[in-house]
């Protein structure tokens, strides 16, 4: 077991998988000489060389298409988006090509592609650099969507994503790159895709949370435990698509109350899907509606005070736990 930062965990995942499988390569802006805009790929160019760590010009649609073509004929590309916000430039490639070629070809061509990069709110990066986009990608049949929360998640999930034969959307978080955590140093440590984790056991409320907001939900859970004796069970889905609904439902059948916390705006966000399947499958077990604590319905503002208002604060989450338990 090692103590690694989230960034180092991702770096190690790249190293191990590139060592293990010669078909794996990394491509993206500044991933080579610069070592990655967020230093995730530091040292990879020196270790693996220019053939396998490729700096691209700024053309997300073009180089995502290159990844798709390479994947069609047997390579296993990792495409880095400097920030996942830039992946929107490649949305046609991701949605119309990567997600659909396997199906449209009647199963002849698979696209074993990982598209990874940081996303969600950061620190005053403003509207075009702060989006939570996971729900867009979750809506597309053919894609897998992963958002790792801890350094161990980052390593285990990225290794699984690289070994998966499908296009995987892998959205990290700028604000988590420096976070430290225990990470198994076994080169075969994998976290399977499609499996959630009960990160904090509890009795009274099921909270579904992931990525940077998870940590705020933990703070809120610890506070309500101390002040109100409310015991919150936190489930991290880890993979958003395909989602492990069973783990969430098992928890809700126990606690009878559920809440989803997400940084993105609520309308058509992840919470709407989770609330729907909980209501459909565990209606008789619910003592309250499924609530969502979401980002405000506005693009991310620049001003520090407004930015703080956009993403759910610990206090808003605490308030939600209290109100949910009072229903």
């Amino acid at each position: 077991m090692a103590i690694l930062t989230y960034r180092e965990a991702l770096n190690h995942a790249h190293r191990e998988e590139m060592e293990r499988d010669e078909r794996v390569f990394l491509m993206g802006e500044e991933v080579g000489i610069y070592g990655g805009a967020y230093k995730v790929s530091q040292g990879l160019l020196e270790k693996f060389g220019e053939r396998r760590v490729i700096d691209t010009p700024i053309c997300e649609s073009g180089f995502t298409g290159v990844g798709i073509g390479a994947a069609m004929v047997g390579l296993r590309p990792i495409i880095e988006m400097m920030t996942f916000n830039f992946a929107l430039v490649a949305l046609d490639q991701i949605v119309n090509h990567a997600a659909k070629i396997h199906y449209m070809s009647g199963g002849q061509f698979s696209i074993p592609l990982v598209i990874r990069g940081p996303g969600g709110p950061a620190a005053q990066l403003a509207a075009q650099h702060s989006q939570s986009m996971e729900s867009y990608f979750c809506h597309v049949p053919g894609l897998k969507v992963v958002r790792p929360t801890t350094p161990a998640d980052a390593k285990g999930l990225l290794k699984s994503a690289i070994r998966d034969d499908n296009p995987v959307i892998f959205i990290e978080s700028e604000v988590l790159y420096g976070m430290k955590g225990e990470v198994p140093d076994d080169a075969d440590f994998l976290i399977p895709l499609g499996v959630a984790e009960v990160k904090r056991p509890g009795r009274d409320v099921t909270a579904v949370a992931y990525s940077s907001l998870y940590y705020r939900v933990v703070e809120a859970a610890e506070e309500v435990e101390r002040t109100d004796g409310i015991s919150v069970e936190i489930i991290d889905p880890r993979t958003l698509r395909p989602m492990d609904t069973e783990t969430i439902l098992t928890s809700v059948r126990k606690t009878h109350r559920a809440l989803v916390a997400e940084s993105g705006a609520g309308f058509a966000g992840m919470g709407s899907e989770i609330a729907a399947f909980i209501t459909e499958s565990a209606f008789d077990d619910l003592d309250a509606p499924v609530w969502r604590v979401c980002g405000a319905n506005a693009p991310m503002p620049y001003a520090r005070n407004l930015e703080r208002l956009k993403t759910p604060s610990k206090d808003r989450i605490v308030d939600a736990f209290r109100k949910l338990c009072a229903v």
Partner: protein, 335 residues
């Protein structure tokens, strides 16, 4: 019949044309022509649904270009790709079954006219987003280079793709990274209903190559030997030097953009279409072949009979292939 060469390019040689080659090229072009005509009939009868974009008039481009490839080379094309699939060796029975939406179609009935794929034949689709697959072709070339291979990929697209950003991104990447891809622009002068003069500030499409430091060459897309000549040099360049080329094949489609579009009258005149039909690639080549002594009544008759039988067999195969089972709806979503 006056054979006009409008491009000012190199006219193809008639003398010295090998009989075997002549029969092969004629047979392939005729197969595409008759297949597409039959598809149009089947569409009118309701056996084929959705969009159907016919390749009639452009046969010399797919056939001429693909005739210079090795079996292990790749082809990728857009939604007007039945001809390219057939030229690459995809089974006409399975192409027709795919058009009919049957389980024995190349894509198990789940792709349709615009999404023909055949891995064994090196045919990578069948794509419906204009220009969307050009970076994918560049990616295949990247993989060839990554593996130290010497295959090449031909990427076919129309004049309508040239304004799309991904055309430019792809040429830039292919030139920058020296990738074995040949970009073949089939300039039929109309992107659906939009004439090239209304779409491109630079209508001399081969010149876009210059912006990326690449060789760009135009050829008469109605002359199968001219296409073959230009593409063979481009393929040799890609294979030996990993230098991509932009080939502009100047051609014309005799039917509308799709079955829902009339051949003429809205955005082009009937007179123009009739004039262009005088340079029908099949007529031009048969004439040239006969003049060179490489084709005669007997060989042309034999080819015609065989092609008609092949197309009839394709229809029969498609008719008897069942629809895909309901379970196939949600199969292949994930690998």
């Amino acid at each position: 019949m006056a054979v006009k060469d409008k491009t000012g390019g190199r006219p193809s040689a008639g003398a010295g044309l090998d009989g075997t080659l002549a029969r092969t090229l004629l047979r392939q072009m005729l197969l595409i022509r008759r297949f597409e005509e039959k598809a149009a009939e089947m569409y009118a009868l309701g056996k084929i649904g959705g969009f159907l974009h016919l390749y009639i008039g452009q046969e010399a481009v797919a056939v001429g270009a693909i005739s210079v490839l090795r079996a292990d080379d790749y082809v990728i094309a857009g939604y007007r790709e039945h001809g390219h699939a057939l030229a690459k060796g995809v089974d006409p029975r399975r192409v027709m079954a795919e058009l009919f939406g049957r389980k024995d179609g190349v894509s198990k009935g789940k792709g349709g006219s615009m999404h023909m794929f055949d891995r064994a034949a090196g045919f990578l689709g069948g794509h419906a987003i204009v220009g969307g697959y050009i970076p994918i072709a560049t990616g295949v070339a990247f993989a060839i280079r990554y593996g130290d291979g010497d295959q090449v990929i031909l990427c076919f697209f129309g004049d309508g793709s040239v304004p799309q950003g991904e055309f430019h991104e792809s040429l830039n990447l292919a030139a920058l990274w020296k990738l074995p891809v040949v970009f073949v622009c089939e300039n039929n002068r109309y992107a659906m209903g939009t004439a090239i003069e209304r779409a491109l500030a630079q209508t001399d499409i081969r010149r876009f190559a210059e912006a990326y430091g690449l060789p760009g060459e135009a050829c008469d897309g109605m002359d199968v030997l001219a296409v073959r000549d230009t593409v063979s040099r481009a393929v040799a360049r890609a294979r030996a030097e990993r230098t991509p080329t932009l080939v502009e094949a100047r051609t014309y489609r005799f039917r509308g953009h799709s079955m829902r579009d009339p051949a003429a009258a809205i955005y082009r005149t009937k007179d123009e279409v009739e004039e262009e039909k005088r340079r029908d690639p099949l007529l031009l080549f048969e004439h040239r072949g006969r003049r060179a002594g490489a084709l005669d009544d007997s060989s042309v008759h034999a080819i015609t009979t065989e092609v008609e039988a092949t197309v009839a067999e394709a229809v029969a195969f498609a008719e008897t292939s069942p629809e895909p089972p309901a379970e196939w709806l949600t199969e292949d979503v994930y690998a």
